[in-house]
Each structure stands twice: as structure tokens, then as C-alpha cells.
């Protein structure tokens, strides 16, 4: 499952874990209903749709008849999700039946007949003329985001002073940075993985952290979630009268990415079969990210030239990045020129990255004890069987009567052998 889906699914799990009262209150808002409908797995959406105009309860057996045998696991997943979100209420009299949540149902019926409406009134046109253009907004959003990510990588490199509040920064960096007493903060393993994720996944992660921390600061989780979901229905670039905020593409893409898996931005990396990498980008952030796993050789005004070498990859692996993440990062950010080619990253490069990763797994170490000089073959055999029963036998040599067992059962072996000697 793409990473965005996992992280977004976690967000929906958080929604599902709200109390029953909060959830029912959430469903009074038609936009939340729509957002939650869109976030369901496809089969669940179908079931909800089919139940739109059915007031009574449907027996579970009848629902199972709708599904082909292949789809049975998906069916179960869908039903569980619907029950978890309190969209389906389960009644168990003679047989299990499901009924659609009535507030949800009436809100969506209205939506079907009257269509979607804008969340708030649009601003009067006099002010609209003074709003920044879409391009300015996008540039601003991307700039701020990069600034934030650069802060994560190295607190010294960010040029512009950020106006994120410091408590926010602490919240976000909690899982991603580790602060050791005397050293500067270093990125943790999940920090590295975070950097290589795509933008929507990163946004979801932060939103989730923010919401889980909101409890401490006294803000109601349900209100936050409903605001964020509603935010995604605004059109990028249109301001709203009351509160003077203008959503950017980042926000409006959020709800789309509840089930979507791509950030539709242009790629910039070309990887060649001789392990050289050319990244057409001017951003410092990209340079830093590439430095994580490759050796950057030249940096030109619009081009970063690097090579993927064994040392640079070993470095990355030690920091906790996996080969799959590197490869999927390269594939997702492939330059449009090579993106059409199948595969966008040459196979020999992908294979070599995976081989180098498995290099690190060549040797596996287990703490163990070595037994030698058994008095007789019977004692040796008995010891082997005992170790095997305890599932601690690692190696035996019947000819020379030698035995290696795991360290955990060493004490038990000693007791056993003492017992044997008597």
C-alpha cells in the first residue's frame, strides 16, 4: 500500500476513534459527510451508495450475496470500516442487519439532489482583485514548506527566518529529531523516511501529530478535524470573508489524497545506467535530500550532478533508509523525459541498490555458548535433544561431539548437564 494511504488511513482511524457523541456531531456537517464518504475504500462507498434511499435494515447475508467469492476479504474490510465509523449500525436480533446512519443519510440525500454548495460566502469582488495570484500562492506555499523541511535537516541552513511558532516546531520535530545532550539535533530513522515521502504523506503526518497534541492544549479534537476536512473543500486561491485565510494547493489537495497516492508535481531526476544522477532543480531541499543517499559531485545553477555509490548508499542504510524508499523516491520524482520509459529508473541501478542493501544483512549474529568435551556420546545426544526441545540448538557436530546453543538457554543447559552427570 502506498505510504500516503497508510498515513492517511491512520488519520481516518483517528477520526474513527472519536467518541460516539463526537462522531454523530461531526456527521451533522454535510462537508464532513462528503469527505468521509470519499475516504472510504471503494467497496464501502458502493455499499453506502446503494443504501442511500433504503430506510430499513439490510441483513448481512444479503450483502454477502452482492459480492463475488474473490472479493470476500474486501467485503469484510469495508463492512468493518463502516461499522467503525458508525456509518453502519449493527443490529443483532435473529440475524445481523445493518442500517445506514440517518443523519449521514439525510445530509447526503440533500447533497445528491441539490448538489454541493460552497462552504462559505465568497469575498466581495473589490477585495478579490487585491488577492495574490495563484502562482504567487503556490510559490509561497512551496517556499514555506521547503523552509520547514530544511529546518529539519539542518537548523543552520535555513536562510529565511521562519515564522512558525516554536511550540509548533517542537511538536513536529518530536518524532523526527532526536536531541542528544551535547550534540546538535540529529534526524532519526523516521525522520529520514519522512523526508523521502511525498508531500501529501508528509502533510498528513504533521496534521496527525498536530491533532494528537491538541488535546494537551485544550482544543477539541473533533472541532479540529472538522475544520481541516472542511478546509479541503475550498478552492485554492479564493479567500473567505470572515477569517481572511486563503487556502493554497497544499490544503485543497489534502482531501484528495485521502485515497489518492500521487502528488502530481513534476519530477526532476534522471538516473542513468552508469549510476550517475542528474537532478534539474534549484532547491536547496532537493540537494540535501539527494545528499542523503548519493554523492553530489557538482552543483550548477539549475542542475545537480551526483553519483550513486556504494559508500553513499551504505551511509543511507546506516541512517535507517531502506532501498525501497530510495527507489520509490527516484521513481516518483523521475523527470518527465524519462518518466514515460518503463522502467523510469534503470533496472541495473535498482537491482544494485537492493543488492547493496542485502550486503548489510549477510552476516547475522546471535549470542551463543559453545560446549565441548562431552564425557560420552549418550550425554551428547541427550544434550542435543534437550537443546532442540528448547529450540535453542544452533549447531552440532556429532563426530567431534561439539554443540552450540543460544545464550538464553545456557543456564538451563547447565542444570540439565549437571543432572546428567549424576
Amino acid at each position: 500500500m502506498p505510504l500516503v494511504k497508510i498515513i492517511a488511513k491512520n488519520f481516518m482511524d483517528m477520526v474513527a476513534s472519536l467518541t460516539a457523541r463526537d462522531l454523530d456531531r461531526l456527521y451533522e456537517n454535510p462537508f464532513i459527510c462528503e469527505a468521509i464518504l470519499r475516504s472510504l475504500p471503494p467497496l464501502a462507498k458502493k455499499y453506502v451508495m446503494q443504501m442511500f434511499y433504503i430506510d430499513g435494515a439490510i441483513p448481512a447475508k444479503m450483502m454477502e450475496e452482492w459480492v463475488l467469492p474473490d472479493g470476500f476479504t474486501k467485503h469484510r474490510v469495508a463492512i468493518d470500516r463502516l461499522v467503525q465509523l458508525r456509518l453502519f449500525s449493527e443490529e443483532k436480533k435473529k440475524e445481523t442487519t445493518y442500517r445506514l446512519n440517518s443523519t449521514f443519510q439525510s445530509n447526503l440525500r440533500k447533497h445528491l439532489i441539490y448538489g454541493g454548495a460552497l462552504p462559505r460566502e465568497p469575498m466581495p469582488s473589490g477585495i478579490t482583485a487585491r488577492l495574490p495570484t495563484l502562482e504567487d500562492l503556490e510559490a509561497y506555499a512551496i517556499g514555506q514548506w521547503e523552509c520547514f523541511l530544511l529546518q529539519l535537516i539542518s537548523s543552520t541552513q535555513a536562510e529565511r527566518p521562519t515564522n512558525f511558532s516554536s511550540s509548533m516546531m517542537k511538536v513536529f520535530q518530536r518524532g523526527l529529531l532526536s536531541r542528544r545532550d551535547k550534540e546538535a539535533p540529529r534526524l532519526t530513522e523516521s525522520g529520514f523516511q519522512f523526508l523521502l515521502m511525498d508531500t501529501n504523506a508528509q502533510l498528513w503526518y504533521i496534521v496527525r501529530e498536530y491533532i494528537s497534541n491538541s488535546q494537551e492544549r485544550g482544543i477539541n479534537q473533533a472541532d479540529l478535524i472538522s475544520f481541516l476536512l472542511e478546509l479541503s473543500f475550498h478552492v485554492a486561491g479564493e479567500g473567505r470573508k470572515e477569517n481572511w485565510f486563503i487556502p493554497t494547493k497544499l490544503a485543497t489537495n489534502l482531501s484528495m489524497s485521502l485515497t489518492d497516492s500521487s502528488a502530481r508535481k513534476e519530477g526532476f531526476i534522471v538516473v542513468e545506467t552508469n549510476f550517475r544522477m542528474y537532478a534539474y532543480s534549484t532547491s536547496k531541499l532537493h540537494c540535501e535530500i539527494l545528499r542523503l543517499f548519493s554523492k553530489v559531485e557538482y552543483q550548477l545553477p539549475n542542475l545537480i550532478v551526483g553519483a550513486i555509490t556504494k559508500e553513499s548508499l551504505y551511509n543511507a542504510f546506516e541512517n535507517g533508509i531502506t532501498a525501497e524508499q530510495i527507489i520509490s523516491f527516484l521513481q516518483q520524482n523521475a523527470h518527465p523525459r524519462v518518466a514515460d520509459r518503463m522502467p523510469s529508473v534503470p533496472e541495473n541501478v535498482c537491482d544494485q541498490i537492493r543488492l547493496w542493501e542485502s550486503d548489510l544483512n549477510r552476516v547475522e549474529m546471535t549470542p551463543a555458548h559453545y560446549y565441548d568435551e562431552f564425557p560420552s556420546r549418550d550425554v551428547f545426544e541427550a544434550a542435543c535433544d534437550y537443546a532442540r526441545d528448547q529450540s535453542g540448538l544452533l549447531w552440532e557436530d556429532p563426530k567431534k561431539m561439539r554443540l552450540v546453543v543460544k545464550a538464553e538457554i545456557h543456564m538451563h543447559m547447565r542444570e540439565f548437564l549437571r543432572g546428567q552427570n549424576k
Binding site: P42, E65, H111, G116, S261, S262, R264
Partner: protein, 298 residues
Amino acid sequence: MASAPSKLYSDDVSLVVVLLDTNPFFWSSSSLSFSQFLTHVLAFFNAILTLNQLNQVVVIATGYNSCDYVYDSSSTGNQSVGNGRMPSLCATLLQNLEEFMNKDEQLGKQEPEGRIACSLLSGSLSMALCYIQRVFRSGLLHPQPRILCLQGSPDGPEQYVAIMNAIFSAQRSMVPIDSCYLGAQNSAFLQQASYITGGVHHKPQQLDGLFQYLLTIFGTDLHSRNFLQLPKPVGVDFRASCFCHKNTIDMGYICSVCLSIYCKHLKKCSTCGSVFGQAQTQSDEPSATNRKRKTTDA
């Protein structure tokens, strides 16, 4: 039949091109009135657009004399036209539909005697396929397209060739054609279309519940179709129509070069121009030999 693989999109994004039958000769004699039909259909469109932010609906009206695009949900000029009560989808669609029907009437041909006139299904199928081709060429990120045919008028045998060509090109591009037949008899063309391209054909028993049929059967996206039970084809009518008179025939003559179908023996194929040899006169010899063989075996 596997549907076209779509790259980089979540599984259930769909582009539905709806071919709406607006043949006035059919609707004036149908038990379901056109306005009731439209209420079901508009609610269905809203449902599709609600399911996923990236879903798209394109409506092509199939008229008696012409076909035209009536609505495209992805075009930005869809702001509501002044009327505060009706949402923009309905307003734009109804307005365009009205203009289309006025134009269609003005192109008027005489209604043929006896049977209900047929609508230009071949025209709208071709327009739908052209639109879908354009979507395919717009880049890697496109939704999975399918065609939904809401048809009530009977089949016009004169359109056989054009419709079969459209069906085969849909099969080639892996675009399923779903069809919902609202008329009295059966439509052989639609059954064949859905069978060949891997779509779903259904004739609703109760037209009052059309919305529920549309949602349950035709609202399923292509990904979920692998997991849900949908109506299976039962006894598809595969009869062809001859190329010369456009009559539906069971047995006929076929040109061995281009496979065109004729009901009578001709000297030369009208499609490819190849000359046919001497006709084999119907002699009893082959059947007599068979009979002889049968009796010896017995």
C-alpha cells in the same frame, strides 16, 4: 475482460461518458416521462461526482437527427447561471439540453411510418470514443473511462456497420460500454456492445426505481467490478444486418476478403470490390452423401 490499466491514480477514479437518448418519438410514447427520467439521471450524476473528487461526467445527447455534447463536469465554465436554487450541474445541463433539442428539431426529417424512429446511436458512440481518445492522449494521469448508454429507441439496422465499428474500436481501447435499455423490446446492438467490450447490459423491470438501478449497477467503478456481482449477459442476440438492404438476417453470404455480409448473391463485393466466382448451385449431392453415410453407420 481486463479494463485499461491506469497509472498513478487511486483505484476508483472514473470518467463516465453518458449517451442520453433524447429521441422525442420514443419519449412521447414511453411510460416514464422525460422529466422524471431526467430527475433520476441528474441525481445519479451528482452521486458519481460526490464519490470522488476526481470523477468526471460527460453527457452526449443522442437525438433523432444529430448528436452533441451537452455537459462536461471538468470544464471550468460551469458557474451557476444566476438561479440560486438549482445547482450549476442541473442548470447548465438542462439549458444545453434544451438548446440541443431545439436545434435537432429544426434539422427535421419525416418520421417513418409504422414503427418508432431510432436515434443516432452510432454518432454519439463515435463522439464518445473520440473524447476518450483525447483523454488517453492527455498524459499519464487520466481516470478510467467507460461509456454508459441510456437508450430507449429501438435499433436502426441501417446503423449496424457504424455501430459495430464503434464497438470494436472500444474493445481495442479497452473501454467498457454499459447499456441500460428503457424501451419495450430488446436491443440487439446494445447487448452485443456490452458483451463484446466487457460492460454490463440491463433492462430495468421497474422504471420508477431507475435511480436505484443506475446507482447499484452502473455506478460501480471498473476496479470494484472484479469483486461485485453484476448482471451477466443472458442470450445475446448476435444476428447481423446485411450490408445491402440493412435487414436483420440469420443466414447470408460473406465476402471472403473483407467479411461484409449480404443477403443475396452478388457478382462483386460493394465494400472491397473483389469479384466473386461462380455460385455453387444448390445440388442435393452433399446432403445425399451425408444421408448415405448415416444409413451405413446405422
